[in-house]
Symmetry: C2
Subunit: 155 residues, 2 copies
Amino acid sequence: MGVMRWNDLKEESCPVARGLSVIGDRWTMMVLRDCFQGIRRFDDFQKRLGITRHVLADRLRKLEEDGVLERRLYQDRPPRHEYRLTEKGLALLPILVTLIQWANTWEPHPEQDDKILRDRETGAHVEPLVVDSETRQPLTHRTLRRIESSAAPKA
Amino acid sequence: MGVMRWNDLKEESCPVARGLSVIGDRWTMMVLRDCFQGIRRFDDFQKRLGITRHVLADRLRKLEEDGVLERRLYQDRPPRHEYRLTEKGLALLPILVTLIQWANTWEPHPEQDDKILRDRETGAHVEPLVVDSETRQPLTHRTLRRIESSAAPKA
DNA sequence: TAAGTGAGTTCTAAATCGGAACCCTTGGTT
DNA sequence: AACCAAGGGTTCCGATTTAGAACTCACTTA
């Protein structure tokens, strides 16, 4: 298989590798979390995250290249843009939601309240669960067969 | 809010930050992917991932510290251990599964087959979907209210 | 005795990151 | 005109982290 360089990940046949080539970076998911909280501007990301401006600019550029964020002009003089989630970016929400569920269960915060997920209409508290879209049976390590690549073994 | 150093993330009140303090690293999720494929030994991880031995040792140590992997002796002379997922680690599968689903949809591989998720019993092909555990309604950006911290605003 | 296995550790050079300062355009103040 | 602030970056330098390769240690097998 040879050595795997991080930037080759996009061409890997493994979807985990391809997914991580987009969101596998330390700060990228934090940026996306802020996006889902409605943040759109460079300085707002920077202030909330405490990330260096240099790294932030780089991550926003990559997310735009990957089609997760869209950079759109919101005023002309001087030109200013904001970053917005595309459909592809919005489709990442289930991952974030699943991560929140895991962290609230297995890394609970000592005393502070946690982010709470609510239904948009009713405001009811929701609890994420990953199921099969057809049978609606929960998918866990007990119900799933070991993950395998369907690609032919290398020898 | 001050600057956020990566290692302070564990004490953040945001579950996304706390989750990422465990699995937010480039290689960590790749290691976990291999774990879910049944890999348990140092050299096997190393050969499959093409990660440097140094970094691999570091990531395995961190995952053990975080209670995601367990290092257990499987022979005495010389002492050898293998790395196994704990309950906490097994609970990460839904995240991996959701990531696979996203990547297969939005970053499809040109020609090669992808990893396929199957039911352990029937072998039927399953398709992950994140729903509310009570109502079984899908959770997406259309059905969820914007994520908010329930912590009091800082001023 | 030599070679091999498994699990690391050590070393050096290259890449990335953090922190801070600087730049540019435009609008508003004094 | 001179100064300042907002917004969105870029540049520079020193500190970390990573990649790549070699080396170690404790056995086991040929």
